[in-house]
């Protein structure tokens, strides 16, 4: 019997190594796998490269991982926090973390490409800007495009709404965001889900992430209360 569920956060994170590239779903605080991210603080992996849309705000989730000094490098589209200087901004000003800024659509497409076996693609995004510096460009049909490469993760930490033992997932509202894309792009995809359902309770037409992309699922009922 296929059973991708694991009983604890610790089991879900077992084996994540120092130096890993960790993909974090979520947009703002919505749909980010905070229980897994905070578990990573306990788990102990360091020297991480984190790929995430935002750099974390407040003191929870990614901010805790950053404050613990575990992240060497952040790949991000929008590291500015609404609520004023964040843990990330303090580290960045102090020169204690590297930052790679990527346009949001390019980040999504590079992750999608990694999951889909596309090593590189052309996009108009960034042409004629600093984003294109050092990158190959090409005219196609009279327009200039930038060559961008697939972005693979060692681990993806995903927040889902429902899951089953095969790893089929659904998401709630805008909690979907980067999660399904990142789930396809990592060698090890770990999921925290608000609800673990019996196999078959997710209708086959409603599965958003098929279990083929998922390695471990842990139920986190606290997610039912908030995003």
């Amino acid at each position: 019997m296929i059973d991708r569920t694991v009983p604890t956060i610790a089991a879900a994170l077992d084996g994540i190594a120092d130096g890993a590239v960790v993909l974090l779903g979520g947009f703002g605080s919505v749909g980010q796998a905070d229980a897994l991210i905070e578990g990573l603080v306990e788990q102990g992996a360091s020297d991480l490269t984190v790929v995430a849309n935002n750099a974390g705000g407040g003191n929870a989730g990614l901010s805790r991982l950053l404050a613990a000094g575990r992240v060497r490098r952040l790949v991000c589209t929008f590291p500015r926090a609404r609520s004023g200087p964040s843990v990330f901004e303090e580290l960045y000003r102090a020169g204690r973390i590297e930052l790679e800024i990527v346009p949001q659509g390019t980040l999504a497409e590079r992750l999608r490409a990694a999951g889909a076996g596309i090593p590189a693609f052309y996009t108009a995004t960034g042409a004629g800007t600093v984003i294109a510096e050092g990158k190959e460009t090409r005219e196609i049909g009279g327009r200039t495009y930038v060559l961008e490469h697939a972005l693979h993760g060692d681990v993806a930490l995903v927040a889902a709404w429902q899951a089953d033992r095969w790893g089929n997932l659904t998401y709630r509202a805008s909690g979907r965001n980067f999660n399904p894309v990142m789930a396809t792009a990592a060698r090890l995809t770990v999921v925290q889900a608000a609800y673990l359902l019996p196999l078959g309770d997710i209708a086959p037409e409603h599965v958003v992430t098929p279990g083929i992309f998922v390695d471990r699922v842990v139920e986190v009922p606290a997610m039912r209360e908030g995003a």
């Binding site: 500015r80 800024i101 949001q104 659509g105 497409e109 800007t129 509202a173």
Partner: protein, 218 residues
Amino acid sequence: MSAGSNRTAMAARVARDIPEGWYVNLGIGMPTLIADHVPASREVVFHSENGILGLGPAPPAGQADPWLINAGKEAVTLRRGGSFFHHADSFAMIRGGHLDLCVLGAFQVAENGDLANWTTSLNDTAPAIGGAMDLAVGAQRLWVLMEHTTRDGRPRIVRRCSYPLTASGVVRRIYTDLAVIEVTGAGLVVRDLAAGVDFATVQAHTEAALLAPEQAAA
């Protein structure tokens, strides 16, 4: 400047120009206000980068769904007929030219339509691009909504952007507190003036040369 439109009037002015049936992405900040000025009877479908079509108004106090935010991380609602999708699909919509319109804020717009709206310096302590570069190159039309000048009175509509570009040659129309200005092959054409503002005043606050509609038509 005391003459000219306030933020509410500026947002309402843009809203007037959005027809029923368009798919529209509104940038973070002032552009987000535009949605409040599209009457519910006129169906416009608002898109958010984080995987939403059919954004509705802010929820009543205390009734926010914690799972439902817009690209500015504010609580929103979903209209009947709305849908959710993931980030790669969301930006496929943007990059694939499926949005009729995107309205962004800006630091500077150049007379050739260049847009600078993400950072004022490459030494920024926390530069943030978000989805602006994708929206700028992907939407069918890009309009900018911004104050005509900086807080200390320097023009934002310039001959060449001095700030790092978001995208080149993409802005089609500029809405400010003073005027509505079209970016055309012939140059910047003033299409509309705010109440109590004349052409000379707009030009005085603009680095790039402006054309009156009758000059553009000539």
